[in-house]
Symmetry: C2
Subunit: 119 residues, 2 copies
DNA sequence: AACGTATATCGCCGATGTACGATAAGTCAA
DNA sequence: TTGACTTATCGTACATCGGCGATATACGTT
């Protein structure tokens, strides 16, 4: 991504993009679904569920952690992961606003592109 | 990505991941915000708004188009883009379900990892 | 300490994403 | 047709991702 020229965009734009990036892989979606269903799972259980090597799954988990989507607690030699619903809800709300799916219907729009814009 | 071993995951998981991937760049978030505010914009207007080269912006627009997030209509020599709210709403709903932010509160969960799981 | 288990990290590789200039392809006007 | 304009695509360079085996780290048990 060439560092995405990320400094050229707003904090919120980068933040939303990062959140979306965390969800941008089917394996990570699967992990989220698993945690959604079970409430809590160890890393090992997640590995067993996915058709990927332990190292790869660990990377996906770490990606979700860095995005703030997971809670984890040590539990002896295991680590239990669960969803951080607060973060998730917060991001979802931001997305709803950005995507315009909260209130305000599709906004009809008079469409100016073919009228005044004939410069 | 490596084709992401995408065949190993469900259709819906891949679909959601693709949608998230389309949003996983601040420039694309910025494009969406722009269209959300203006309702409709030409490619040229979008280029002027972003701090990126025309070719790069065109690629981002194409990424959003391929994800089904944009409507476009020819308008003389210009092309007007707008948000495809139907698609967006549909994806948002899927995400709400996957992320568990629709109904069902955070699910307390008895947490079995430290009890029965001591195999 | 030594071992087994659980998880994270490293190193490597091929594939993909991002960025750009240059150029092609299309439309409209003269 | 020529020319100005708008947008998409090509070619290239580089960074990042996604995958894996191997290894390191950390904990609990004996």
């Amino acid at each position: 991504m060439t560092a995405s020229k990320t400094e050229l965009f707003s904090e919120e734009q980068s933040s939303l993009a990062a959140f979306a990036g965390a969800l941008a892989h089917p394996a990570r979606i699967a992990i989220i679904e698993l945690l959604q269903n079970r409430g809590e799972s160890t890393s090992g259980e997640i590995v067993q569920t996915l058709p990927l090597a332990q190292a790869t799954v660990s990377q996906h988990i770490m990606a979700l952690r860095k995005a703030g989507l997971l809670n984890h607690r040590d539990c002896g030699k295991k680590i239990c992961y669960s969803l951080n619903y607060d973060q998730i809800r917060q991001f979802c709300h931001s997305f709803q606003c950005t995507l315009g799916t909260t209130d305000a219907p599709p906004t009809p729009v008079p469409s100016t592109c073919c009228t005044e814009e004939n410069a």
